[in-house]
Symmetry: C2
C-alpha cells in the first residue's frame, strides 16, 4: 500500500470519528508512512521537527495513537522501555528477533508457529485474539 492510500484510510477514519484532517497530522503521518524502521516517538518527533519546527511532542503522540487505532501503525514494546511504531506490513503479520548486543531487529514469519499457538490455546479452552512473540539473542554481526 502506498502513502497516498494510507492517507486516504487515515482521512476516512478521522471522518468517522468526527475528527479533522490537519496539516500537522498529515505531515506526521506522511513522515511515518515513509519510515521503514521500528521508530520511537522521540525519533519520529526529531524527524518531524527537521522541516516543521513548531510541531509538538503531544501532537506526534496523539497522531500515532490515531494511526494505531485505525490499524495503519503497530505499536511494539521490545523491552527497552520505549514504545516503538512500525508501518502495517505489506505481507501480513510478522514476529521479531532482537539482538541483545547491538539492538538490531530482524523480522520473520512462521505459519507453523502461528498454528501451534492456536492449538496450544485451544487445549486450554482459550481463543487467541493476538500474540506477542519476541526472540532475543545475538545477530550475525555480534556472534
Amino acid at each position: 500500500m502506498d502513502s497516498v492510500s494510507k492517507m486516504d484510510i487515515l482521512k476516512s477514519y478521522l471522518e468517522t470519528k468526527g475528527l479533522k484532517s490537519t496539516s500537522q497530522r498529515d505531515y506526521i503521518a506522511d513522515i511515518f508512512f515513509k519510515t521503514n524502521t521500528h521508530i520511537s516517538l522521540e525519533e519520529l518527533l526529531k524527524k518531524v521537527k527537521r522541516k516543521n519546527t513548531n510541531i509538538g511532542y503531544a501532537t506526534v503522540y496523539r497522531t500515532m495513537r490515531l494511526l494505531t487505532e485505525c490499524g495503519l501503525a503497530i505499536s511494539r514494546q521490545f523491552g527497552d522501555g520505549q514504545t516503538r511504531y512500525e508501518n502495517l506490513p505489506e505481507d501480513g503479520h510478522h514476529d521479531h528477533i532482537i539482538c541483545i548486543k547491538c539492538s538490531k531487529i530482524a523480522e520473520f514469519q512462521n505459519q507453523k508457529i502461528e498454528q501451534l499457538q492456536v492449538e496450544a490455546a485451544k487445549k486450554l479452552g482459550f481463543t487467541v485474539v493476538n500474540h506477542k512473540l519476541e526472540l532475543y539473542g545475538y545477530c550475525p554481526d555480534c556472534v
Copy 2:
C-alpha cells in the same frame, strides 16, 4: 524444589555477592516462595505487610531483584504496565496465555514451538538466548 532449598540457594547467592542474610529478606523471600501466582510488587508488599508492618516497598523491590538475579524468580511483563514475578517453575520454561477480559493467566509448554523458534532465528543467522511468547485472547469463562 521446596522453600528450604530455595532459601539455601538465596543465601549462597548472597554470600557470593558479599551480601547479608537479613530477617526482612528472608521473610519477603519466604512469602514469595509460597505464592503460586504472577504477583506484582504492590501485591507482594501487601502480603508482606500483613505480618510485618514495618517492611518497606524498597526492600521488597530490592529482594525481588536479588531473587531474579539468582534465578529463583522470573520477572514478567504482561502489558498492563506492572512487572510481575513468578517462582522458577518446577517443570522448566513455560509460556503464557492471558484473558483480555478477566486477566486470567494460563500456562503452557510446547517443545515444538520452542524448536521452531530456534530454527526461524537460525535462518536469519541469529542465536536465541531467550524469548517472550504471550498469547492474548478469551478464557473459557469469558467465551
